[in-house]
Symmetry: C2
Subunit: 226 residues, 2 copies
DNA sequence: AACAAAGTGTGACGAAGGTCACGGCCTTGC
DNA sequence: GCAAGGCCGTGACCTTCGTCACACTTTGTT
């Protein structure tokens, strides 16, 4: 894919004309990373915006004792790393590749230059930040109010909405180990195992290796809200 | 205080000229509320921005079982309610007055009109949203990684930074019951009581009714990070 | 002054969930 | 083929924390 086409896909620059995209494309730097590469840590100075061409990146927090939680995934055409760019503060979370991934980076100075040249970009930035805030508010809410079993159920529904493919139920199209799911819902791997077992026994989901299929979305939702 | 002066204080409109502020002031509506009045609930449609003149407002989430957590306080010159305004979605959290408070509201249409007329306002909006995101990320982090005792310690340091007055230690200048503190740290009132007792016994804080004084900020920080 | 209401202190108990220790089952690489 | 490393399933145990109950103290009201 050309840089120009990539830019047209990312919602951040949706408002720009072809001409504007072409000049923007000149400032992009292409990078390829293997799986499991840490792009940055929380607390590091952040001067680059990331635009994804392919692969998948996990946004995470890491505790002193080594526990990891994942706040989000990003895939093709998503962008991330914009927060530190906007306010000049350190990175608020870490980022690590989950698969081999290809990204284009944009340096802070270049980004701000284009921002001033084409102020209407700010509209999509506002939209993006708003969405992030809502997502994080929801995350906080489930963490505060739901027990592990319900957090697992809620997260499965969430993932089904983002990665689900309909068929005989909704297949979550992600290789998802129980350990990874545990970092989403902030729980131990063993708890998640027991939660999945319970949901399977009730006929709400079907588990086949790393593939999870949601058989009864309605039932899952009922399960959560008691 | 005149509307015009209020507007000059709020960081959201920091970039505007006096002339621009004057026209903006014409669209404001003044409201006074008693303590304990709910301004809006999560999920409600949100068409108004709130600018505070005086008083204090608590931003909260409410679970189905009636448990409340508080995400934030707002005081004089703060504004809130901007998220639903920007993206047109329902309110992401509720707001309730803690004291008699006076606010000016700005309706969505008027806000957007001024936004288009003076696009440089978006800079301070971006700054505000960025700050909200960071705050919420920190909130999530403490919730995920710290136990109740440490969350209490961390929250006291946080509040001391926002409302502390130096003296013989740092006095947190808020009437703060243990029950309210419990909604900040997402725990039961009794747990918070025990946590405060422990911190008092260690000489880190002093509790006098609803007044809490931090005697040893360094010690508190050490306590948190083990 | 007296009483109610709100807030505080504390212990007993049980539920939720983490930790640990396994054993089994697949991959993947030699 | 086989060994090693991931991942899964599961039970025993222990910590953390919420719930409940109740007595005590402060504050505000009539």
């Amino acid at each position: 894919m050309t840089r120009h086409n990539l830019l047209r896909q990312t919602s951040l620059f949706a408002g720009l004309t072809d001409e504007e995209l072409r000049t923007l494309a000149l400032d992009l730097h292409r990078h390829t990373f293997a799986a499991g590469v840490i792009l940055f840590h929380r607390g590091a100075p952040g001067n680059t915006l990331y635009l994804m061409e392919s692969g998948r990146v996990r946004i995470f927090l890491l505790s002193d004792e080594g526990q990891e939680i994942t706040l989000n995934f990003h895939g093709p055409d998503d962008c991330f790393g914009e927060l530190a760019l906007l306010d000049g503060m350190p990175r608020s979370a870490g980022a690590i590749t989950l698969e081999p991934t290809v990204v284009y980076t944009l340096h802070r100075d270049d980004f701000l230059r284009h921002l001033h040249a084409h102020p209407h970009i700010t509209e999509s930035i506002l939209a993006m930040l708003s969405q992030r805030l809502r997502q994080l508010t929801d995350y906080t809410e489930t963490l505060a109010f739901l027990d592990v079993y319900d957090r697992v159920a809620a997260k499965l529904l969430d993932l089904a909405g983002r990665y689900g493919v309909a068929g005989d139920g909704i297949l979550i199209d992600l290789p998802l180990t129980q350990g990874e799911l545990a970092t989403w819902v902030v729980a131990s791997r063993e708890r998640v195992n027991k939660a999945l077992g319970m949901l399977r026994d009730r006929g709400l989901i079907d588990v086949d290796g790393k593939q999870i299929t949601i058989l009864d979305p309605q039932g899952l939702r009922r399960q959560i809200y008691h």
